[in-house]
Amino acid sequence: MSRPSKTFVNRVKVSERHGAAEWTAERASSLILVPLTLWGLWSGYVLAGGGYDAAMAWFRSPVNAILLAVTLLVSVWHMQMGLKVIVDDYIHKLGSRGLLLGLIGLLCVLIAAAGVFFIVRLALGSAPLPAGFGI
């Protein structure tokens, strides 16, 4: 059998080459998130009601900052896949589906990039924003 060269053959999606990878990625992200979620719950418990100073002190620990960045990135990855499956299942109009998936992708990239930026600043003890942006 020849390799299918297009994603769509006769307007039917050919998924035999990458469907397994998506399935594995969903499970892998879930597996990684099990311990990270428990750690996140514990962190939320520690930080709740502590106010600004307690939160800043918490970020001074590199372990906390790194674990939070990893949790954020894997969560966003997992979230993008989950929302994509929901959209794929319920939105059948190609244009709307493409638009929604694009918006979801944009939101995920924004949360991941800006989130890591904030975490790095907090971990380094940088002055509160917008310091450094000349405003």
């Binding site: 709740a48 929302l83 924003l129």
Partner: protein, 157 residues
């Protein structure tokens, strides 16, 4: 008389079917009922699966709120005080309690699906038990978490 599926198939015999999975067509023929959303019998594994998708969707909102938490913290004490003022209000606490329930149920549901995907607990009895344990366990974990928050005095109403 033409019947479909054929009588004699024990699992699919329309002549002594008790489950309502067959309909008589206007022409008198017996046909299996199309398994559409409205005719599926409610089952706990189905409810648990739907719940997992719903909590996952809700947690997307939670991800945005965690992002806003980071943003407020990075913008300094005043921004953070505004943020905690909103989130510490009764409505804010209700939202965070809902998100905690969603997180715990989704966590337990995710573990359940990983167990199933590994090929375990797939008998009807075990699957039902896993569905119940994950849902009840998730809600219990969230409740214990919030009882702890109030009991330790971290959060006050």
């Amino acid at each position: 008389m033409s019947t479909s599926p054929l009588p004699g198939d024990a699992s699919n015999d329309p002549t002594d079917d008790q489950t309502g999975r067959f309909v008589v067509q206007p022409n008198g023929r017996i046909r299996p009922l199309s398994p559409h959303l409205q005719v599926w019998r409610w089952h706990v594994t189905m409810a648990a699966s739907i719940l997992n998708r719903m909590t996952g969707g809700a947690l997307s909102v939670g991800a945005v709120l965690v992002f806003v938490w980071l943003l407020a913290l990075a913008f300094g004490p005043d921004a953070y005080a505004t943020f905690t003022g909103w989130m510490g209000s009764p409505l804010g606490l209700l939202v965070w309690f809902g998100l905690t329930v969603a997180l715990c149920v989704h966590l337990a549901g995710g573990i359940r699906h990983l167990i199933w995907d590994a090929g375990h607990g797939l008998s009807i009895k075990a699957a039902d038990a896993l569905a119940w344990v994950s849902m009840v366990g998730g809600v219990l974990l969230a409740v214990v978490f919030w009882v702890g928050l109030f009991a330790s005095g971290r959060i006050l109403l």
